[in-house]
Structure formats: C-alpha cells, structure tokens
C-alpha cells in the first residue's frame, strides 16, 4: 500500500544509502552538463547521507556500530578539497583553507551542518577541530553580514544557505553544550526580511550588500530552510512552514508542493528540479522533512505516497533504496524522511 511506512524501513533505507556512499560517489557520477552542478551534487550526496545516517543512529542507537563507519566516511569525503572544488573554482581559493581570514563560501554551511551532526553522534570524531574552525568562521561571517546574508559564490547570496549556516552553528553548539550566540537575535530579525509577507515563503536569492530580495520566493528554498532552521530557531522554522503548507497540492490523496506562489509562473532549475504543472520535485522532497518536523502527519503521508509512486522503492528488510533516486536522491530522501527533533535530546548539558 503506497504511503504506508513502518519505522523499521528507516534502518533498511539507511543501510541502502550507506552502501551507496561507501561504494564511492564523485563528481564523475553526475552528468548535469555543468562542472559546478556535478560538484554540488556529489557534495549534496555526502552531506545528506551524513545527516540522514546521523538521524537514524540517534533514533536507533542499536544501529550505531553498523552505520557510524559509513557516516564517518561520508563526512570525510564531504570535507575533501576535491568535493568542494566547485566552490574553489568560483572563489579562486579553497574555502576550508581560508577559514580564519576569508569571506563568502556560504555553501560551507551545508558541510558544517553535516559535521555538527557527526559531532553530536560521535563527540570524539577526528573532524571535531575542523567543525570548530568552520563554525567559528561561519559565525563570524554571519555576525558581520550587514543584512544577515553573506555570499555563497561571488555576487550570489541565498537566504536558504544562511539558514543552513545558522542551523550548523546551533547544532555545533548543542553538541558542545554552549548557549546561543549573542548575534543570533539580531540575525533572526535581519533574516525575517527574506520572508515574503504575502506568500509566507522564503526568497531564494538576495543581494548581500543591500539585503534586497532577488527573484520570487520559492517552495524548494523554503522547505530546506524549514529543515535547517529547526536546529536553530523552531519558531522561525514553524513560521516558514505555515507559508510552505499553503503550497501543498492534494491530487487523489497524492501530495505535491508548488515551487512558486500562485501569482508567479516559473520554470525548473538546478535548485527546484523539474517543475511540472507548477509542482516542484525538490520542494516536494524537502517538504517531507518539514511536515515530519512540524507534526503534520497527514501531509507527510500524502507526500510519501507520491514519493513511493514515482520513486519506486526496491530492496528488502535489510537494505532499501529508491529506483529513481540515484545517489543524491536517495541521500536526500533518507535525510528528509528521517528528520525529527531527536537531536535535541542529545545536546550536551551546558557546563
């Protein structure tokens, strides 16, 4: 029956993704036609696999010994210079080598969220020093950003990426038992300008120098921000979810999410994936996590039904994957379908 999802499937799916990432995923695994996007997809695969595996380990501690090696390996590959070569090419310097005095490289917030998840699961991880340095560098850049936004690539800044940066800092501090950073209330206020008052959705792009939104607000960016902000500010995540919820489409019990608000007609791109009749693939996939995190079981079931219909689950009780997912799609679906607030129960107590 489509949409029926027993909890033990999480573990089997985690093993499927663990197998996929340990088999080796690289930029050569993707052929988007753009070297930057091939790199981003490899980066995204390791990022989402690390997050998803971490969430499954936190929810199923009995699987820790079997899944942690894949999680470690995924995080290690995520932080190899080769994996983020798309950022190096854009900036002309290696993001991880210029943490102390560099700027920009907003995509590193994604890597840091994965490292912070690993830190929470395994406080003694060899990645801990890098997680500390990355967190401090991103926190400094976010605190210094005049409009709560710094660049991902030269001349390109994206509010959803800043939600990842904020989430990664908060999860790092949770893992270490540290209080909220003093700049966070001001950042939260600055960030709220990127929420479209009319639709309740987050603008996908903005000008870092002026804070002016660029282009329409969108479902895919809003949905991923609902997920990442849940680590930093649950109220803000919930506010965005209220807007995202209005994008839901229900067709014969199958749930989908519109990429653009009703007054906009837009096409698909590398962020949204294909957009068919206004419905976006990425928005639909990321909304799985948003619905789960905000206890919207009815929407989650409808979205998952659609995922099963078009994703085509294969495998057995020991290992599962989606036929049409590929390495990136499966890693994203693992992270999105296993998202929960379980992490907050594992925060270290403040000393």
């Amino acid at each position: 029956m489509l949409g029926n999802r027993p909890p033990e499937q999480d573990v089997a799916f985690a093993h499927g993704v663990a197998h996929e990432v340990t088999s080796g995923v690289s930029t050569a695994s993707f052929h988007t036609g753009s070297a930057r996007f091939d790199g981003e997809w490899a980066f995204g695969t390791y990022l989402m696999a690390t997050l998803g595996l971490g969430q499954v380990v936190l929810g199923h501690p009995e699987e820790r010994a079997r899944l942690l090696p894949a999680m470690r390996q995924s995080a290690a590959r995520l932080t190899q210079n080769q994996t983020s070569s798309f950022g190096t090419e854009a900036w002309g310097n290696v993001g991880l080598d210029t943490l102390a005095d560099g700027h920009g490289h907003g995509y590193l917030g994604y890597a840091n969220l994965a490292l912070s998840m690993l830190r929470l699961v395994e406080p003694t991880t060899p990645q801990a020093p890098l997680n500390d340095q990355l967190t401090e560098a991103l926190a400094r850049r976010l605190a210094e950003a005049p409009h709560g936004l710094f660049e991902t690539y030269p001349g390109e800044a994206y509010p959803p990426d800043m939600s990842m940066v904020a989430g990664s800092i908060a999860l790092h501090d949770c893992a270490l038992g540290r209080p909220e950073r003093p700049f966070m209330p001001a950042w939260r206020q600055a960030f709220s300008r990127y929420v479209d008052r009319r639709s309740g959705l987050l603008y996908q792009a903005a000008d870092a120098a002026t804070g002016a939104p660029l282009g329409p607000p969108r479902g895919s960016g809003t949905a991923i921000a609902v997920y990442s902000l849940a680590f930093a500010d649950r109220a803000l995540s919930e506010q965005l979810y209220a807007g995202l919820r209005r994008q839901a489409v229900n067709l014969l019990g199958f749930g989908m999410m519109r990429e653009y608000p009703s007054e906009h007609i837009g096409t698909g791109d590398i962020d949204s994936g294909p957009v068919l009749f206004g419905v976006g693939v990425s928005a639909t996939g990321f909304a799985l996590a948003a619905a789960r995190l905000h206890g919207d079981d009815a929407l989650f079931t409808r979205l998952y039904r659609t995922t099963e219909l078009f994703g085509v689950p294969l495998g057995d009780s020991t290992s599962r994957h989606f036929m049409s997912g590929g390495p990136l799609g499966n890693a994203i679906l693992l992270a999105m379908t296993t998202a929960s607030s379980e992490w907050s129960r594992h925060c270290r107590r403040p000393t």
Binding site: L2, S29, F30, H31, T32, G33, L252, L309, F310, V312, L314, M323, S324, G325, G326, G329
Partner: protein
Amino acid sequence: MTLHKALALGLGCALFDLAGASLLDSLGFVEGLLAPNGTQRLLLFPLACAFYGARLATYFALPALAVAALVFAPWRAHPSIVSLPDHK
C-alpha cells in the same frame, strides 16, 4: 472489458511494474538518463515511459476497470436483465 481480461491485464502490468523496476535499477536509471552517452538514454527513456505507464495503470486505471467489469458482469451474462421494453 470482461473481468477475466481486466484481471489478466492487471496481472501483466503488475508483473511489468515489478520486473521493470528491477531492470531499470540494474541499468542505472538516473545515472543513465543524466549520462552524456546518447545511446544509453535512447534505451532508458522508452523503457522508463513504458514502466511508468504500467505502474500508473496498475495503481489507477486497472483497479477501476476491474471494478467496472465486476459491476457489469451480471449484465454481460444476462443482457435481458436490463433490456428496455420493446415498443412495437
């Protein structure tokens, strides 16, 4: 369509759904569609269309056909049950 034919078609589509999923998976469906190699796409694209057609039919069209065949089965067996009076 008779109930017999609807069930046979349903079984065929369901089997194609199962076998097609495994076949596409073993052929590397997503990687193949994204690959710059055109010949792989030429094979995968029609196969994927046929697969998704059978999958959608299995879940939506065929159950409706089977129910319709079941509802009309008595009429097919005995058309006189619902025949209109002959006005001569």
